[in-house]
Symmetry: C2
Amino acid sequence: MKAYALLGGPETEWPHNINQIFKQAKKENNLIVGVDRGSLLLEEMHIVPDLAIGDFDSLKKEELSQIESNVPDIRYSNPVKDLTDSELMLQIVFEDYHVDNLVVLGASGGRLDHFLVNILMLLNPRVEKYAERIEFLDKQNLVKYYLPGQHIVKKQLNYSYFGVGNLSPVKDLKIDKARYDLANYNNIYPRIFSSNEFKKDTDSFNLSFKKGLIIVIFAKDIDRFQNIK
Amino acid sequence: MKAYALLGGPETEWPHNINQIFKQAKKENNLIVGVDRGSLLLEEMHIVPDLAIGDFDSLKKEELSQIESNVPDIRYSNPVKDLTDSELMLQIVFEDYHVDNLVVLGASGGRLDHFLVNILMLLNPRVEKYAERIEFLDKQNLVKYYLPGQHIVKKQLNYSYFGVGNLSPVKDLKIDKARYDLANYNNIYPRIFSSNEFKKDTDSFNLSFKKGLIIVIFAKDIDRFQNIK
């Protein structure tokens, strides 16, 4: 089973087909998760989450009542807590619901403190083990995480560029068979190599490293009138 | 002298008064810098940058010609290079133009590979020394950087929340006199503590740490119709 979680990030950054993504997910009996305000945003799309997580303190009383009236599983988090709402969500979907993979939406745009909390949370040793089973998806980007080893990274439909970055100290990072290759790169601080591309007539590149947490950001340009190129 | 630099991030994420910010900066004889497509976006606001930096490969021929016809200082960067365009910009404004402080706009939103390159670039030892003189500004956020030592962080007008995070291994991080304090926090990986607030009737908190690069993100909520609360 797969899970689709919606966080509270602004709608302007959502993938244009978000409604379809959640409708399809529901149809295929995947798990629909709302995190905090994301629960309400799902209800507004007429999608009842299977699971809602948060302290819900940004919600009005009647908004929370609506969620409480129809969501089968609600987990109330403690605002002064050890795990953030998003980290708690990872723990619940992987440990209690045993999902195989998770797609996170609504993480980007808006408040940067929220965005960075989410994108960096996979560095927390308590949830890092889930890293390779998680994707972040927004209007222009698809983010995937990689743990040490050898990987074949496949081209993703409609994304022209990709960036590769180490979020923690990295050892012997190698990018091979991409437009811009990298050989045995070592660094103690996080760094992103952006705007790389797949080679013409290839649909993958090789990624390997011995230590560290790597993200690959698949990105597309959008023109200023918000149409996808 | 202060510098104001515009990067190529989407207009939807700009501060609502960006035009006024640049017009005022020009009036006060501060340095106006366009980085890559940011140069063109400035021209479209009828603001001629004093300095344009980039490889400009995303610009059409006539767009680049326009910039070349009226910008007094143009620096062409090499697409396969040691420093990114933004890092090169830091080096030029601080070393060649001797500016005191820099405000960066147009860094957030859109492509996450570009955003993360920019927000993380201050970890590069070649430019880290400029960290405390740089701010990132967008529609909802103001990001400031801190080097080891003792700091009094002042409340910023209209920002209700702040997040504090270490972008590199941190030693003895202390937040004192805020709503949520932190005592002698140590961590080897980056982590953000979001949604902190200034205490009622106070307009600062104390921040100290012995090692690491810290960001403070001042943030405000915006309602879904994009009005600032």
